[in-house]
């Protein structure tokens, strides 16, 4: 049986199911989610002082003590005040202890813009975290993926960051009532096609699917790939599609500089077998490299969308 629920509700279902399954899971956030408090009480679901640095570090200490903490930063904005704990501690502690103790922690954060919340609350900084060794991270685009990936992330024995697109929180989609999980590191082909590969992240998966419909009417068959997990990245699925179509567009809501889009482009072009199959240069469709502006006209101008993705696809099709 399936039903339609939102990404936000799918995420909450994942947490409820996992907390019911494992009493070692507890939840810290500056605003405790009522559905969790009602079910699991205030000892396990704590509304905390505004102290993301301490919370992020406490997750590490509790995980090293046999628990499985979930720390919800709420907006990725607030992860930055916890960067010492993320960069110097969480990402490295398993390695620095020679693997003697596991640190299973889920950090959650909303990312992305489009909801008129200005520069601080509209960021997509996942590549800053990808640059660290020792953190896994997911970036789901549908309610189905959100629930399945979150459940796997909670069960993983490493620190995992779940980046969840603010624009997609209310997006509804089919989610089975039965138990399921989605493995980390497995990309999803959201639409099959033969002429051009569009690798898109989070909200842009939906924009890429819309662009693919438009392109289809023009006789261009676009394949849409959603990596779903940023670390580990499913390079092989992306490369296989690139080898098949020979033309690639990478769409990301973050700016291009050292972004996930750059990593994906490099994974494609540095692989000799894939490079030989390319018929056009890999093209990226990203946000402009600016703080996200508050003004609606400026914000819309800064972000990529279906039209920019379609234009990029036409451009790679037109090459030679």
């Amino acid at each position: 049986m399936t039903r339609e629920i939102s990404c936000a509700d799918a995420g909450m279902e994942a947490l409820i199911e996992e907390m019911q399954r494992d009493e070692k899971i507890f939840h810290l956030s500056t605003d405790a989610p009522p559905p969790l408090v009602q079910r699991f009480g205030e000892a396990r679901v704590r509304g905390t002082p505004i102290a993301e640095g301490a919370l992020t570090g406490m997750g590490i200490g509790a995980a090293g003590s046999g628990f499985r903490p979930i720390i919800d930063w709420r907006m990725v904005t607030f992860s930055f005040v916890a960067m010492d704990q993320v960069v110097n501690q969480a990402s490295k502690i398993h390695y620095m202890f020679g693997g003697q103790t596991k640190f299973p922690i889920l950090y959650r954060a909303t990312v992305g813009g489009g909801v008129r919340m200005a520069a601080q609350h509209s960021q997509s900084p996942y590549s800053m975290f990808m640059n660290l060794a020792g953190l896994k991270m997911i970036l789901p685009s549908t309610p189905y993926d959100t629930k399945g990936l979150l459940k796997t992330a909670i069960r993983d024995d490493n620190p995992v960051i779940s980046f969840e697109s603010t624009r997609l929180l209310t997006l509804k989609g089919e989610v089975p009532e039965e138990e399921y999980t989605i493995p980390l590191g497995v990309a999803d082909v959201k639409r099959e096609g033969s002429d051009v590969t569009i690798v898109a992240l989070a909200w842009l998966v939906h924009e890429a699917l819309a662009a693919a419909e438009t392109l289809d009417k023009e006789g261009i068959s676009a394949e849409v790939i959603d990596p779903r997990t940023l670390v580990p990245m499913d390079a092989e699925t992306i490369r296989a599609s690139a080898r098949k179509t020979g033309r690639v567009v990478v769409a990301d809501e973050a700016g291009p500089t050292c972004g996930a889009s750059a990593e994906i482009s490099a994974l494609i072009t540095e692989d000799p077998a894939t490079f030989k199959c390319l018929k056009a240069a890999v093209r990226r469709v990203c946000a402009l490299q600016v703080p996200i502006p508050y003004s609606p006209t400026l914000e819309d101008a800064v972000f990529p969308d279906r039209n920019k993705i379609a234009a990029a696809a036409r451009a790679v099709m037109a090459e030679r």
């Binding site: 301490a54 090293g64 398993h94």
Partner: protein, 225 residues
Amino acid sequence: MRHRRFSAYPDAAVSNGIVAGGISIITGAGLAAQLEGKGRVAVSFFGDGASCAGPFHESLNIAAAWKLPMIYVCENNLWAVNTSAERALAVQDVAARAGGYGIPGVIVDGNDIFAVHEAATKAVARARAGEGPTLIECKTYRHRRHTERPTQPDIRPQEEIDAWMKKDPIDRLVAHLKGQQGQLSEEEWKAMDDEILDKVEAAVAFAKASPFPAPERATDDVFAA
């Protein structure tokens, strides 16, 4: 005073290159102890320098608000690298900061093992009774430079170093025990001192004789399997 260990070494949880960062991590061990409810107590050790950083204040506030079974032990050794507590601390008693969080702030002679033990015993009892954390400030001194790097300068006044060396906690304990009839003879002390020194020397020899890891192991343990 044991809390769950992070490594193969009992009671050695985390030492940290970012001196205040560890305070929050151990506060997480305190939260785990509270959730477990088995009477464990988490102890965080840090210096006067770390007590100036955000994690100290965030952690004390949370531990006090939630009555976590925590003991915060500040070894106020008067120096953070080459910056003196006199210059860095607005208030010279770190223990006074406990007042801001409504928890006991206890000052002890950190070079007096009995005074430290007494304060710790009270703090453990308080933590186990569910009454929350205690901040213990041990007034002490850094016996050596900040690090063992030979190039690291040491600007501390020689008179200050000499005066504190006379208060060496081990020397004081040995003198005390020797003064107590039948507690510790010179021969027993010599044997104990030799035994400990032998253990340290053996550990150093073991480390030096141990092979370095194979280069291909550099990628081991980035992630838990």
